[in-house]
Subunit: 214 residues, 2 copies
Amino acid sequence: MEEKEISKAVISRLPRYYRYLGDLIDAGVERISSNDLSQKMRVTASQIRQDLNNFGGFGQQGYGYNVKYLRTEIGKILGLNQKHNMLIIGVGSLGHALANYSSFEKHGFAVKGLFDVNPALKGASIRGIPICMMEDLEGFLQDHEIEIAALTIPKSQALEVADRLVKCGIKAIWNFTHTDLNLPEDVIVESVHLSDSLMKLSYNITTYKEEHGR
Amino acid sequence: MEEKEISKAVISRLPRYYRYLGDLIDAGVERISSNDLSQKMRVTASQIRQDLNNFGGFGQQGYGYNVKYLRTEIGKILGLNQKHNMLIIGVGSLGHALANYSSFEKHGFAVKGLFDVNPALKGASIRGIPICMMEDLEGFLQDHEIEIAALTIPKSQALEVADRLVKCGIKAIWNFTHTDLNLPEDVIVESVHLSDSLMKLSYNITTYKEEHGR
DNA sequence: TAGATTGTTAATCGATTAACAATC
DNA sequence: TAGATTGTTAATCGATTAACAATC
């Protein structure tokens, strides 16, 4: 083994490549050079070639890259060729939105259960996915093969629930709570901090105003 | 003028500082050294001091940083001391979730209108915010001072709607669509690509499995 | 004053870009 | 074969970390 570590910067660009290659397929494009792709994506051709060569030679000199093949390969690298079962913890409006988000399934992600503390939701379901009560979490995780838990609960409960999930052996947490979960190293955490994102937007507006005389 | 450009890496860390400082205030902490903060945030103390010194000297030798003061100052840098009026375009479940998200208001963001193409939603409202029809967009933007539009519509309509918004002089777009909007330079775009995030998660699961024998 | 801790310069590390030989 | 374009090495650029003098 002992593969060379791939940098986070590279990994975070892979989904974007995947997305653009999908668009190219839809547009009927069969092959593309790093140069053409670089113009579409507004990055350097050099970066594209460097990024891809972290994982092997997908192109061909004088020809470029086969779009379909390259997309499939990037998909494999991202693990999209495998099924990933998922849980959503917290059926507020954000949990609801994720549950409704059927297009995840195209990429191998399947929501198997929804959990909430609100007894009024007991027995209900979204897109056929049952809403369960939090006390049934441990039992559910024993009976089902679940890799990912999306956390869409209030900050105040985030740590406690995360700990319960980790105890049940969950592999990864997709964290939408407004806090950083400091979990054991072997648990993967990917956070989406919506308010952080909005604040960055706000920074850019503010800076722009200052530079252009309000 | 001619302030030195602040790097994106620094800016993207500011909301996180802001968040941690808020937690410290809640915990009753009055002052903190870069070293103590660095341990909480799991970054280097050096990075914290470097980051902050991009904007001026907020600390005091031998004392550290006053938590409340520092948070206020970072808030100002992020533009959170100002009101930012917002629109949500697309009242699907994600738009719905954002509309329900009242905690944005704490930081100066106010949702003034919701827009959709679905005539069934006409006249309805969420948290007192009216849902309007897309044909009324231009008129609404003339009558109201709106800086930000959150785009929670299907990819297929993203570009067209973005162009309309830009024509009306919108300053910034919070883009939740599955595409990159290539807009004029003076329009700020902050994208939240949920499926990109999920794919990164998937990559990490897959890599972890490979490294630890499946 | 002595101790603590910043602000800031210098050193290191990593990531991006440029260049070009290999090769389809 | 000639032209195009990759894979890859080398050069550059930027960001992070370390070190320490300034100073509260």
